[in-house]
Amino acid sequence: MKNGRDGNRFIFIVKSSLFRIVLAALLLFAFPAGARQNPDDADSDLTTKSLEELMKIEVDTVYGASRYEQKVTRAPASVSIVTAQDIRHYGYRTLADILSGLRDFYISNDRNYSYVGSRGFSRPGDYNTRYLLMVDGHRLNDSIYEQAAIGTDFPVDVDLIERVEVIRGPSSSLYGTNALLGVINVLTKQGGQVDGLELSGEAGTESTFKGRVTYGGYFEKRKANILISGTKHRSRGRDELFYPEFNSSDTNFGIVQKGDGDAHAQVFLNGAWGFLRLQGLFASREKDIPTAAWGTIFNQAGTRSVDDRGYMDFRFDRTCDSGLSLLARLYYDYYRYDGHYAFPGALNRDRAIGESRGVELKVSKVLLDRHRLVAGVEYTNYFRQDQINGDEYPHNEYLNDQRSTLQWAAYLQDEIMLLPGLILNLGVRFDHYGTFGDTASPRLALIYVPWEDTHVKLLYGEAFRAPSVYELYYSDGNVTSKANPGLQPEKIASSELVLEQYLAREMKLTASLFRNTIKNLIALRMDASDGLLVFRNVDKVENTGISMELEKRWDNGIRGRIAYTCQESENRTDGSGLAVSPRHLVKIHLQVPFLDERLMLSLEEQYVDSRQTIHGTAAAPYFLTNLTLSGRGWVPGLEGSVSLYNAFDERYGDPASQEHRQDTIEQDGRGMRVKLTCRF
């Protein structure tokens, strides 16, 4: 720690100047440039035109539709939306890329999986179990580890995403387990939106290649929408990685060669016919683990993880003449994990298979003109939850645990229009689990719209996360770890005050104050009596903070967005600070169109403050700059983009979890990607 003091001072200077820059930018944003225009002039222009002429005018739809979409403004939460257009313009490659650009969110990666944190809360080694991930309302968290796959293991190609809705805060009152810190709902494209055959190819640094074939169409006569898509991706990864912790003669002086490959394949089907809809997907990903995690042999090929995910979701969705809307859903989920670990003297395989099927019924109706009621029941049979662990050579079995669980839930939500402009949203959900019993999650929200451009939301919610089968029953035959079937769910209580203000037609301010208390957090601890690792309900975390976001669109088509989050977190059990909890986060986005929007230059800046590692050291703060130049409309049916990720080659590392000897895992330097898509 020779340079500790200087380092701290430097960080402080960076931080305070950063803070000033953010404030200055916020103030600048707040004073709209440009003269006022007499609205009558524009109006008379329009009415003098004929209907035919009016139908030739292009409109600006950036806010038009989304601004008043009931879902966002009336949602009893702070919601962010990322559209297909954003994904294309910013060159996002994975769901993790999408999330890392959002206010309050930050991502880390250990060259195996990607991990999401938000508002200063993330747990090293947590497989995103405190976030509910859904595709078109279908739960994607698996039934063994409850992992939300957001990296290359996310089973839907980002090109097929129509929009991503990120709902902050607890939502268990509607969705049940995992909806503790947020809900990420990915909505996919319909066949009619693709309308034909689409081929897409991309190539990037580290020998990364991806190809996609999609066919989509809408058949007017039969009222049928069909989309079929397949994706294949392969990346060799970094040719050489250096880990100073392993810098000795018997571990190749800390250098890993060719141990970072990533390959995945995905198929996706989305069909709708009248009121019926069938969706299915299957994806498999294989990732080499180069970090010698869990004490595997350094710089030896063979340590890798394979994740397979698939589901079928069949639904009937209709709104009847009486205004009653009905959703019935039948679903089947499949998940398989196959981990290969090359240990000295043995090849260990850690496997898990989860299968489940279930049904959901949901009705919504408006009563007495002022109540919007939503009620539903859900039943899931997790009929297969197997965990198997053993050595291949020599053969040895440590764990063969086979389980099945039943779970059912009922929920009710009422949105009451108390007065014009004052909405009360009440919701509660009751969950029953075969493992630990019952739990109830309430939510209360008051939404006040004093005038059309102002939304104030006062929110309170409680949510839970059921212990996963992995946390309940995993052990390696009591060699280093043991099971704890008595685990209880984690609970969160969260309060938030949100202001959404449209300052001018082209500008929006969002500000939010939040406070979370998370109890009964499940953490891996060592049992002093036998020295074995075991999951226990131990920690209690409190965090408080603010976040602000300002969006603006200028007259010449330039769009910008700046977001700032500041928070403080504390582990109340021992008063210590929290690992991987950046105090400040800044996100800046800027889009500049050229040549009638046929060229678009998009800039993304991310600042993540220093984060404490689990060993108490600090991962340095970093600035990331991503640039994408995209073009369309030059040749009919063809579009392309060139992206530069981490343009200034910033060296930074993400805090590592317990299974690593490394304190931080170094992240990728400058990278590039070229992408071309054509439609027939």
Binding site: P39, L51, M55, E58, V59, A65, D369, L509, I546, D555
Partner: protein
């Protein structure tokens, strides 16, 4: 501790911002723009369309042609375009409400997205009152709304449900039918 100071400052600024934003609403400032906003255009097209619609005798005797906005008004100031205008000799008036009963004397009913869940009921009431229903959400025409706006390649288009117009006792000029997409249900 400067760090805590920064935190506290930011914290108090946000509270102040929220309180101020609450007390003093910012003026809606129209920045100079060449592009036409979606709802300005919708308001203009709606005004043009009214000239091609014929209401039954009873409606025509009313002193005003009243346009009702049912639900969360997406137009903002854009409806100013209808001020001091006349259609078929009648001056145009605009009313807004969340209840259809408050709008039962309207000739035109603009059904906003917020009413999406109860469109069928609204359509029944509106057709018995000889109203021209207008909407701007996907699927509204199929559900009985007479004229439904949609966007295609950033240009404004509309669908017309001819059957629904007949049920409301309205006749729509064939000139308009040619410009829109006719929906049969």
């Amino acid at each position: 501790m400067p760090r805590q100071f920064a935190f506290k400052l930011a914290f108090s600024l946000t509270i102040a911002g929220i309180v101020l934003g609450f007390l003093f609403p910012f003026d809606v400032v129209h920045s100079e723009e060449r592009a036409v906003s979606e709802y300005e255009l919708k308001a203009a097209v709606l005004y043009k369309l009214l000239k091609f619609v014929e209401w039954p005798e009873g409606n025509r005797k009313r002193p005003y042609l009243t346009v009702g906005i049912l639900g969360d008004d997406p137009f903002g100031d854009s409806l100013g375009i209808l001020q001091n205008r006349t259609v078929g000799g009648r001056p145009v008036a605009v009313r807004r409400s969340h209840s259809i009963h408050a709008l039962k004397h309207c000739d035109v009913l603009f059904v906003t997205r917020s009413e999406s869940e109860r469109v069928e009921g609204i359509v029944r009431t509106a057709s018995s009152l000889n109203m021209l229903t207008v909407g701007d959400a996907a699927g509204f025409a199929r559900r009985g709304i007479i004229i439904n706006f949609y966007l295609q390649d950033q240009k404004l288009r509309f669908e017309i449900n001819v059957e629904a117009a007949k049920r409301s006792g309205l006749s729509i000029s064939s000139q308009v039918l040619k410009l829109g997409r006719v929906v049969q249900y």
